[in-house]
Amino acid sequence: MSREVVLKAENLVKHYPIKAGVLRRTVGHVKAVDGVSFELYKGETLGIVGESGCGKSTLGRMLIRLEEPTAGKLTFDGVDVYSQKGAEMRQLRRDIQIVFQDPYTSLNPRKTVGDIVGEPFDIHTDVVPKRGRRQRVQELLELVGLNPEHINRYPHQFSGGQRQRIGIARGVALNPKVIICDEPVSALDVSVQAQVVNLLKDLQDRLGLAYVFIAHDLSVVRHISDRVGVMYLGKIVEIGDEDQIYGRPTHPYTQALLSAVPVPDPTLRDVREQIVLTGDVPSPANPPSGCRFHTRCWMAQEICSVDEPLLVGRPDGESEHDSACHFAEPRVIVA
């Protein structure tokens, strides 16, 4: 794989103010994303996993600049995304697209499939000449496995899986280089999930796309990702190649997360070790001091509540990968 960086996030931060009282004074901040850095290489899939509220969707929205950052820098192909304006920004938006989670709410019910998939061409008029648009939309529909003759149908005439295909067709319409997939298969049934995952992989091979694949399902993420980042309370706690994260995770949170995922194999029932975490994820408005995971961590010691561990390379038995734990140690969770 070529190691050419397409998207680079440096210390991205997004805080939402909490307003209270009659005067709507700011009384605090929800630290949704609190210092996230990573690099996305050309043609690869970076999986981002985490539980609800860890900031993974906010991160996704920041990557396509649907949210302005509180701090941090994002570069696409060497261009600083957040400092672009007007026509330049529009140009940049062609290259980074998004596919949303919910195919029921992300498609306008009053528009036909042709309008939805063709809408990017209304804004980026130079991509396809006006006369060629209908044909291009039909090509796109065919590309994602839909019948091009259904171009005049409305979203409600399609099933969930087909709607997600429409969303994907819209996402690839402008020949982007990067697609942010925000939980693209979570709303789908098991048998349909596999179809959409296969489609995404197929499109990646054909079009050379890079994906940031945001999901809470660790099995799906393993299946599709080359590299994986694990988020907890607005921070990436561990990031590495797919086999590093799944094969020799060093952060206790990653280990607990992996051990909690049920594996469809009854013979492993009593064999697999399960780490059951106590309690819930703390509020991102008031994250714990030091390591944010220390309140639920079974390895926590005094230093963990004082000193925040850095996300740096730590040995994992065979090599090393980035992990933010003072006591990082590889542990085999899934065979």
Binding site: V190, S191, L218, A260, V263, P264, T278, D280
Partner: protein
């Protein structure tokens, strides 16, 4: 309410329901339809299974397979109209509860058969404290006073491991996290010590670490009280972790029923096999998933013959002919509703793959005339008009 006086007597004499030989619940040939403006949706078309004391039966299926409707029919909480039970029996400890008047159903619902719902937030009443809602079970069913019932509620909240239960008994549902709300739902459902607990997707809305906590709690409670547990889910992982037996549902039918180990090791129905092949596994890095092509059928228009035939890789002419293959015993303790189960079980080469998932998908999307993918057609020369793809 005098038509069913025979069953009234059983209750009036105060006899608790006693399972015979450990057999708690028998569902036989249950049929449910929804009569809507758009036609009659046949949600359940002859479902049969039974449940014993201390056993965990998983009902596995995708959305629209009828698994939740089955649960609601057992509980007697189907909204009618539009839902109508058009046939079959649900026997609890030997007597058909579908024939009982509503008053007596109410005496079963809660003390005998109880249910945990998927979405705890919408199942709890937002304007009453959680303790009050749990205590309501004791007030209504056991006639306890407020103070005693609240005391029992605290005990239950402690049992389901809600921290600082005594302080939080007066808190409202919105003040709890999703996992804690689900614990409260579980506390309510076990309050009257039911013999059967139905858990309908109890962890689907929860994060994976919380899911593990809740599943562990359910298993503990079941073990402690020897309840029969019906776990309704679409998650093959959760099922593998906790179930003893599995019933796989598709288009309102049970298509396969087996011991959990047998089913995962060697599925006997093409749909079950397809499901197992199509899920990515945490412990494996696969290349392409073997997806099942197409979609589950529309329940107002279920295809003739085996309902799975349009998506099945092994479908032949016989599969498209009514009546659909019955659920029959194909091996010890194994039931399957497929003409070719024995061949599938034996991995027999005689069982021909008549089409691939891509072919199914292209066929369903584009119709019979459309070439599947250029170059793959030689395998599939005789696509005929009118729906046959062999």
């Amino acid at each position: 309410m005098s038509q069913t006086s025979s069953s009234v007597e059983v209750l009036d004499t105060g006899t608790r329901w006693q399972p015979q030989d450990g057999l708690l619940l028998e569902v036989e040939d249950l049929r449910v339809e929804f009569r809507t403006r758009y036609g009659v949706a046949k949600a359940i078309n002859g479902v049969s299974f039974d449940l014993r004391q201390g056993e965990t039966l998983a009902i596995l299926g995708e959305s629209g397979s009828g698994k939740s409707v089955t649960a609601q029919a057992i509980m007697g909480i189907l909204d009618s109209p539009p839902a109508f039970i058009t046939g079959g029996e649900i026997r609890y400890c030997g007597s058909n509860i579908l024939a009982l008047p509503e008053e007596q159903r109410r005496e079963i619902r809660g003390p005998e058969i109880s249910m945990v719902f998927q979405d705890a937030l919408s199942s709890l009443n937002p304007v009453f404290p959680v303790g009050w809602q749990i205590a309501e079970m004791f007030r209504k069913h056991l006639g306890m006073n407020r103070r005693d019932s609240l005391e029992r509620a605290v005990g239950l909240m402690e049992r389901v491991q809600i921290p600082a239960a005594r302080q939080r008994v007066k808190a409202f549902p919105h003040q709890f996290s999703g996992g804690m709300r689900q614990r409260i739902m579980i506390a309510m459902s076990i309050a009257l010590d039911p013999a059967v607990l139905i858990a309908d997707e109890p962890t689907t809305a929860l994060d994976v670490t919380v899911q593990a906590q809740i599943m562990r709690l359910l298993a503990e409670l079941q073990d402690e009280r020897q309840m029969g547990l019906i776990l309704i889910t679409h998650d093959l992982g959760v099922v593998a972790d906790v179930a003893d037996r599995i019933a796989v549902m598709y288009a309102g039918r049970v298509v396969e029923q087996a011991d959990v180990h047998d089913l995962y090791r060697n599925p006997a129905h093409p749909y079950t096999k397809g499901l197992l092949d199509s899920i990515p596994r945490l412990d494996q890095k696969g290349e392409t998933l073997d997806a099942i092509g197409g979609l589950p059928p529309n329940l107002t228009n279920i295809p003739p013959g085996c309902p799975f035939n349009p998506r099945c890789h092994y479908a032949q002419d016989i599969c498209r002919i009514d009546p659909p293959p019955p659920l029959r015993e194909i091996a010890r303790h194994r039931l399957s509703a497929c003409h070719f189960s024995e061949l599938l079980l034996a991995h027999s080469p005689e069982l021909a793959v008549t089409r691939t998932a891509e072919e199914v998908e292209a066929y369903l999307e584009f119709g019979p005339e459309y070439p599947v993918t250029a170059g793959e057609l030689d395998h599939n020369q005789d696509i005929e008009r009118g729906g046959d793809l062999q």
